[in-house]
Each structure stands twice: as C-alpha cells, then as structure tokens.
C-alpha cells in the first residue's frame, strides 16, 4: 500500500520535473527567438535599403557618389553635395565638441567643488537627452537670427583679408547654412562626449593619479600625462559614438542647413546633408528613380555610420575587457 502511494508520488514529481523541463525549453526558445528578431531587424534594414536603392544603383552606378547635380525634373541624381555636407558638418562639430567636452570632463573630475559635481553632471546629461527637434526649432528661431545679426557679419569682416579663412568664412550672412548646422550639432553632441569622457576618467585608478601628484605634478600634468593616456581608448571610442550621432542627425540639421544641393567653398553658405535631404524631399518625391535615389542615400549614410559605430564598439569593447582584467 505504502509502496504504491510512494511510486505514485514519485511519478507525480517526475512529471512535474519533466514539465518544468519543457517549460524551460519553451521559455528558452522564446528568448532565443527574440534575439534572432534583433538580428532580423538589422538584416532587414540592410536588405530593404539595398532593394529600394537598386533602381538608382543601376541607373547611376558609381557616378551617384561623385556627381553633384541633383535635378528631380530631369531625373539626374548625384549625392555628392549631401555627402559633403554630412561629412563637413560632422567634422566641424567634432573639431569644436571634442576639446570642449574633454575640458568639461576635466572640470567635473578634478576642479569642480564636490557638492556641485552631481548637479552639474546631471544637467549636462539632461542636455544629452533633449530630442533633436528641440535643438532644431531653437536653432531656427533663436540661434540663427542672433548669429546672423551679431557674430556672422563680424566674422566675415574680421577674416575678409586673411588668406584661406577669407574663402571659408565669406559671403552674405544668411544666418542658416553649413556653419550654423555645425554649431547646433556641436551643442548636441557636447554633453554626450563629456558624459562618456567623465565616466572613462573615473575608471582611472586613484593610485596612478596619487603617484603622479606625489612626484610633484600639477593638476594639468596629471590630466595630460597620466589620466588622458590611460583613458585614451575610451575617450576616442566615446568620440566615435558621438560622431556616429552627428553623421545621422536629422532634425537639428534640417531646420538650419538651408537645403541647397551645391558645394560651396564658404562655410556660411547654405548646403544640405544626407539626412536633411531625405527628411525634406522623401514625402514629396515623385517617380521611382527619385525615391530610389533618396533610399540609396540612406544606404550610404547607414554604411558610413556602421563603419564609425563598429570601430567605436571595438575600442570600447577593448576597454571593457581591460577593465574586466581579462587581458592586459
């Protein structure tokens, strides 16, 4: 009697364990499927862009990236002006944002009085979370008019007789243009760079800094000779992430760039970027070739940002491994 009860009990338990096992398998497959979905989205992005861009790739071939003409009426499309705009605005933004961002990080980790560190750090991080359309509308209504009336004429006069700069900083003060877009981009990526840089600076072991101070180094020498070299990979990785953002940034740029498909030597002239062109023209694009050309631009943008982001990841990944102590 007891033996039967016991075997029934064991049977019940065994069934529960088996059921547990199959539940687990089901749940495990579900999580596996979800991560495959992430891969599928990525593959889908590439595939759909390639398919959408096919007519334009067939029609223009390589001349698409070397040709500046963008004429929807005659259906002649070249992306050079947009690619140039994307690269030059991001380059200028990085040129301004990287030194200032590192300066802010130095201020936050070394100079700032301790009670102020958190509030200032948090406000800079909040600036990083403000959506780009806010920067766009602010740039269009507040910054561009102020720039046009104040700084821009002054800059044009100032550099009118300086060789080289007279070419880049010339022309009528429109307010909007490549230069204005670069400034707005700078303000957008600045908090991002300083937040990442500060985090990386904080991973520097205090003993390294203390040792340098004990040798008699000044604060600047500690930062320049000890902290920055130690944090180099992380800072470069963070800057690359910021570059990825700047390259793909749409709304902040679209408002203030002027949307002109020309490459002009002056940085004050209106221009366009890949993302601004797509945002401005996509819904109004008539004709398959027009649409397909815009999609091919999207593909080019995706490839450029992919290369930048992938190298950023490799650098930051190397840093993580080092922090984890796996490799020296």
């Amino acid at each position: 009697m007891a033996a039967i009860a016991e075997s029934a009990y064991i049977e019940k338990k065994a069934a529960a364990v088996r059921r547990g096992g199959s539940d687990d398998l089901r749940f495990r497959s579900l999580t596996w499927l979800a991560s495959i979905a992430v891969m599928a989205i990525f593959a889908g992005v590439i595939a759909s862009l390639l398919i959408g861009a096919m007519p334009a790739i067939k029609a223009f071939g390589l001349s698409f990236v070397t040709n500046e003409v963008w004429n929807p009426v005659t259906e002649k499309f070249g992306a050079l002006a947009s690619i140039y705009g994307t690269l030059i605005t991001s380059f200028l933004a990085m040129l301004l944002a990287v030194p200032v961002g590192i300066g802010i990080a130095i201020f936050l980790t070394e100079i700032c009085p301790r009670p102020l560190r958190r509030p200032i750090g948090i406000s800079i991080e909040l600036l990083a979370g403000i959506p780009s359309i806010i920067f766009g509308i602010w740039g269009l209504f507040v910054f561009a008019p102020a720039f046009q009336q104040g700084l821009q004429p002054w800059l044009i006069d100032l550099f009118a007789n300086v060789p080289l700069l007279q070419i880049f900083l010339a022309g009528p003060p429109y307010g909007i243009g490549i230069f204005t877009a670069s400034i707005i981009l700078t303000v957008m990526i600045l908090p991002f760079i300083s937040a990442v840089t500060r985090d990386v600076f904080e991973t520097v072991p205090p003993t390294l800094k203390e040792a340098a101070y004990a040798m008699g180094c000044t604060t600047w020498e500690v930062m320049w000779r000890v902290v920055l070299p130690f944090a180099r990979t992380g800072v470069v990785g963070g800057a690359m992430l910021a570059l990825g953002r700047a390259l793909g940034e749409t709304m902040a740029v679209t408002f203030v760039i002027g949307n002109a498909h020309h490459i002009q030597s002056s940085l004050f002239a209106p221009g366009t970027t890949i993302s601004a062109t797509i945002a401005n023209e996509f819904t109004e694009a008539v004709g398959d070739l027009y649409l397909s050309s815009l999609i091919e631009m999207g593909l080019i943008l995706f490839v450029i940002t992919f290369v930048v982001l992938a190298s950023a990841q490799l650098m930051l990944g190397a840093l993580e491994r080092r922090a984890g102590g796996v490799s020296g």
């Binding site: 687990d24 979800a34 991560s35 992005v45 300066g103 130095i106 509308i137 992430l241 996509f282």
Partner: protein
C-alpha cells in the same frame, strides 16, 4: 634660478589649462540655460486648455494640438507595448541562456549598432516593408518605426541589469530545484526590476521626440483620427511642419509643442534617475 623659471612656467601652464576647462564647463551650461530659457519664453504663453482641447488649425485661425498629442501617445504606447517584450526576452537571452554563446556576441554587436544608428534609416526600413506593402502611410507604420528604436534600448538595459544580479542568487534558486525559467522569472527579473523599468522609461524618453522616422511612416493628419490604418498626427512632425511654415500662429503652436515634449522628456529622465538611485541605495 632655472628651476624657479621652470616651476613658474609649469604653474602658469597649469593655471591656463584649468581656466580653459572651467570655461568649457561654463560654455556647456550656458547652452543648456540658453535653450531652456528660450523654450519657456516662447512656449509658455502657448500652453493653455485649448492646446489640449482643440485640433491643429489651418493657417490663420486658432487651435490646439489635441490630435497631435493623442497621436504621439497612441504611437509611443504601441511601440513600447510591442518593443518591450521583445527587448526584454532578447536581453534575457543575452544575460542568461546565451551569456557566452557565439550568437550572443553577434546579437550584442548588432544591437549596439541599432542603438546608435540614424533613426531616419529605420524610418526608410519601415517605409520599405510596411508603407509600400500596405499602400499608404499609417499610424501602425509609425508605431513600428518607433518600436525598432525601443527594442535596442530595452535589450541593452535588460542585459546590463541582469548581469548585475549576483550569481549566488541564481545558484541558491537552482539548489532548491527550480528550473532555469523559474529562476529567471521569480529571481533575476525581480532583482533587476527597477533597472529594467528605468530602461523602458529611457526608451519612452528617446522616442517621444523622435521625428525623422515618423516623417515617412505616420506622416501627419490635420484632423482627429483614431484609425491605425490611416496617417495620424503626432507632435514632432507637427512641430517640424509648423516651425518651417511662414505663419506666426503656427510658430507659436510649434514652440508650445516643443516645450511639452521637453517637459515630458526631462520628467521621464529624472524619474528614471530617481529609480536608479533608489535601487543603488
């Protein structure tokens, strides 16, 4: 003699660069202040009951942003409702079942690319697969394009938060005979809950101002619409359209909408931060 000169030179250099970095910080804060003041200055007068009660007006007449606010809320909710489970499960796979697998390595890489990829490209993707096949712009397509942005954010935070859960907890539950799925649901998810909620909040903050992908998925709609198959108004696209227009009263509404979005995003980020600090303490 030479030493004193060198010493002074070093001190001078130190002072110079430290001053520069203080100036850099002031510069950064100046912009934040500048942007927030002009937002409040221009947007505050537009905030009233009518903003939430009336639809977007044709140029030259009065109105509000009710249909755009509604559309933004609907599409963001759909995107979060659809994206959170997928992101949560995928993040769980990365942190639990497949922590060291080769697949996880690729998923992590791809996910981090998607996390910072230009949002306009995800819009093009959804346009190609949904708008083209369904023959038209729709709120559903808008929600899908936002979902593509939500998923990577949730995956990243879920994985990070689950990795913070000490292995001892998992081992204790396993020693009691709990199968893996029970351990995850009853122990690790619970331990990481605050962090995962933070991630979802950050994802909401991220999509609430997202404009580029909505331009050619949800498009815009002048009227109140609840039809998910039709174009739907949404705050970011309305702001874009109104700000680029030549009409003064549209500009005013654009500023009011911009202020609304900023307040929402700042509130979400602050809440997320509070949650995070309560988890730490």
């Amino acid at each position: 003699m030479r030493n004193t000169r060198l010493y002074n030179e070093r001190k001078r250099r130190n002072g110079f660069f430290l001053t520069l970095s203080v100036l850099a910080a002031l510069f950064g804060l100046l912009w934040l202040g500048f942007i927030l003041t002009s937002l409040f200055y221009n947007g505050f007068s537009g905030i009233s009951g009518r903003l939430f009660a009336e639809n977007t007006p044709p140029p030259g007449s009065d109105g509000g942003l009710a249909n755009a606010i509604f559309g933004s809320v609907v599409m963001s909710s759909l995107a979060v409702a659809g994206g959170t489970p997928i992101g949560l499960l995928a993040g769980t796979y990365l942190a639990e079942y497949g922590r060291y697998s080769r697949l996880s390595f690729f998923v992590r890489f791809v996910n981090d690319i998607l996390l910072s990829a230009p949002s306009i490209v995800t819009g093009l993707f959804i346009y190609e697969i949904i708008v083209v096949n369904m023959h038209g712009f729709s709120a559903l397509a808008g929600a899908a394009s936002l979902m593509v942005i939500v998923i990577p954010v949730v995956v990243r935070t879920t994985e990070n938060m689950l990795l913070l859960v000490p292995n001892g907890l998992r081992e204790a539950a396993a020693a009691l005979g709990a199968p893996r799925n029970a351990i995850i649901k009853a122990v690790t998810w619970r331990a990481a809950r605050a962090g995962i909620v933070t991630g979802v909040l950050l994802a909401v903050a991220r999509i609430s101002g997202e404009t580029a992908p909505l331009l050619f998925t949800a498009l815009n709609n002048q009227f109140w619409s609840t039809d998910l198959d039709k174009p739907m108004a949404n705050l970011p696209v309305v702001i874009f359209q109104f700000a680029m227009s030549p009409y003064e009263d549209w500009h005013k509404l654009a500023w009011a909408g911009a202020l609304l979005i900023t307040i929402a995003v700042l509130a979400l980020s602050v809440t997320a931060r509070l949650l995070e600090s309560s988890r730490r303490s």
